[in-house]
Symmetry: C2
Subunit: 432 residues, 2 copies
């Protein structure tokens, strides 16, 4: 065991985040010891390839590729995991907990998929798991849900929680370039991964929403239960039409709770220009929370990157060190209300924006109006946009009043079958 | 003492905040017990006038006007104070701590003036003081500084932290009414007190900044050490000129730390239109924090009012209940770095906006330019605004590059003495 007052830290991962965590622990040793009430002693770092050249100078002997040297070392009392991905990391964390080590993790995937079972195990082993860095980088989100807003019933969460898609959509909106060009640029600038699927298709946002919904609503939400749509289908022209109507297009993660049912979804949405989420630029994340007492709270910050994420990881480590020094056991784990059920996506109510490519001739609007009417969808605005005389087509933009997602989807399908409709290139829900 | 798992709560104050706290504790007893891991039992309420009619139905026998019945009751283990003001509340809290009771308080004045000594006393008595509600209503601010951002050196705090002045300035900006009319309207709408001095003159903001600077910078800052200017001198025309230059006018609380010195000030400022603080409307508060790891974080929410403040108070109570259940002692108190000194206001560097009423004749600009040059203040823009042919005067608007406050103030005085200058009706610093 570590001498009293010293926390021996084993770090898993020495990439973008890990090297910032290690740098802070090494370079600011004294300040962190003062704030923690005891030393945070980085004593082992697990990496895949110890021979890889690294910018950070690490004291010799710290780095290893052998998980056992970290996980089986009884002197290490905290494992800090910033490697990411599911396996083998989940197994590493389980082993750490089983041998009585506390865990600090930045791993959204593991926490979204296995958080409840790991937290349960940690409870049995009387150790703690901190995961502030798993959602929203350095934004104090998990602590806000777990502690500050505990007097509230959380009613709604609306979040821009994926920096890559926000950057890509922002470039499309501002510079009039198309999705592929914006994505290529984001990759070149280091804002998107070589394989950007996880971000672009909305998976990343579902992991983060699963964690927030679990804590915020007390609902056991698995990421794959969240309705998900990515941004690859958004076309340039929709930004122009959205702006004309007073909206920005953002990938939003939405959770809401009503009458014991929880609604969770990730999709592109038209966000009203005056809403704070519409203003969130580039790689910033923003989470909008509504509680029954607190009203509306907005938290904004850099949602990813080495330094902001390291801020959350090391903050968790200090919090943990203080708890250990005071002899504290487990903080509140997720506690689930078994009564809570998820709202099927068909029943989710929203307004929507449709862009419809039609034959430019009489009767079109009557036919479209009939479809919407039969599906009980009420039209809010209908504007004819560009016309192409050459092929006799025109584009209509329709916004609707609130309607069930089932009715909106059926309207879309049925319009596609009309003789007078060539295609329905855009169906985007409106966030309000 | 309370039976294990039960926290006996004595409440001081049953006004706007107190009745919301009492209502939540009474009406949501079971949910709060589940979240706290034990019952939060409201067992006494201290008020000034027990006979006063109240909207909230409180179980009979709870209300008393005798402080001893609350402070000397050994069964009460937490005192929740939402009465506000300095004495007699400070004495009540000191008595509570000395008899081993924990404290949750929403009292910015007591925490700004006496926080350090009360926290020290609490440390000796092995009890805890929570004061999340003292700054920014339900916005999770204190916990963010105390825990989430502890891995950072906080570099800068910029805040809109007084709802009354933000509402008044917003009305002046949007509706073209003057200060007195906007203030009267705010009073009628319940956004300003009958005696609004504490808000309008910036005192309220200094209490909140003192608390944030103490925690954020580890500097022992008393509210009276903070440079302070209120909003009563802001004239209607300055909103128009500011907008033309791309700024909004806000009352800002600014703290920054550089080279071991801390700068703290509260004054009206021109805030660039694109800055998030420029967008903060009405009674909302917003706090912008820059840390060396996390980068920029923005926290926004309703900064006052019964329900948001009760959210923070009851959140603190749940946090405290969990700590007590786990046998925890004192959390981190303020810890001060004795080396830190305050920057004298004369040495504070900022850009500035001047509005100057001049005789409309040749030589004016040369004379003004000479004053600024002699004070080493570099002019960024100089625009002639309205002209009044009848009395031969005109208005000049000058913005400067960064300069010391001493040089800016001397420039203002010396311009006032020029033959060609009638008056200098506005000198407003620019927030960047």
């Amino acid at each position: 065991m570590a001498p009293p007052g010293v926390l021996n830290v084993g770090l898993i991962g020495l990439g973008t985040v890990g090297s910032q965590v290690a740098a802070r622990l090494i370079e600011r040793r004294d300040a962190l010891a003062r704030r923690s009430g005891g030393e945070l002693n980085l004593c082992r770092i697990l990496v895949r390839d110890p021979a890889k050249p690294r910018a950070l100078e690490v004291p010799p002997g710290l780095i290893t590729a052998d998980p056992d040297l970290l996980l089986d070392d009884p002197a290490i009392n905290v494992v800090v995991e910033v490697a990411g991905g599911d396996e083998p990391v989940r197994t590493f964390l389980e082993r750490a907990i089983k041998s009585g080590k506390h865990v600090v993790t930045a791993n959204k995937l593991v926490m979204a998929r296995h958080g409840p079972s790991l937290l349960e195990l940690a409870g049995e082993m009387n150790v703690d798991i901190h995961f502030e860095a798993a959602v929203g980088g350095g934004i104090p989100l998990i602590s806000t849900f777990r502690t500050d807003l505990q007097a509230n019933d959380i009613e709604r969460i609306g979040a821009i929680i994926n920096g890559t898609t926000n950057y890509v959509l922002g470039r499309m909106a501002t510079d009039g370039i198309d999705f592929q060009a914006a994505l290529a640029e984001a990759q070149a600038a280091g804002f998107a991964e070589a394989d950007p699927t996880d971000d672009i298709d909305g998976h990343d946002a579902t992991y983060k929403l699963a964690i927030m919904a679990s804590i915020g609503f007390g609902a056991r939400v698995a990421p794959e239960e969240i309705y998900r749509e990515g941004i690859a289908g958004i076309q340039q022209v929709d930004f122009r039409y959205a702006r004309e109507l007073g909206y920005e297009i953002k990938l939003v993660a939405i959770g809401s709770r009503l009458d014991g049912r929880v609604e969770v979804r990730v999709h592109p949405a038209l966000v009203p220009g005056g809403h704070p989420l519409a203003q969130v630029q580039g790689a910033y994340n923003a989470v909008f929370i509504e509680g029954d007492l607190v009203g509306q709270v907005l938290l904004v910050g850099e949602g990813a990157g080495g330094r902001p994420t390291a801020s959350a990881v090391v903050g968790d480590l200090i919090d943990l060190a203080r708890s250990i020094r005071r002899g504290v056991q487990l903080r509140s784990a997720f506690s689930f209300d078994p009564e809570v059920t998820l709202v099927p996506m068909d029943d989710v109510i929203s307004r929507a924006y449709f862009r419809i490519r039609v034959a430019d001739r009489p009767g079109v609007i009557a036919a479209i109006g009939t479809v919407f009417a039969e599906e009980q969808v009420s039209i809010s605005s209908l504007i004819q946009k560009d016309q192409w005389v050459a092929d006799g087509t025109a584009e209509l933009v329709v916004t609707t009043h609130p309607a069930s997602n089932g009715a909106l989807e059926r309207s879309r399908l049925r319009m596609g079958d009309l003789d007078t409709v060539r295609s329905v290139p855009a169906f985007i829900r409106i966030f309000e």
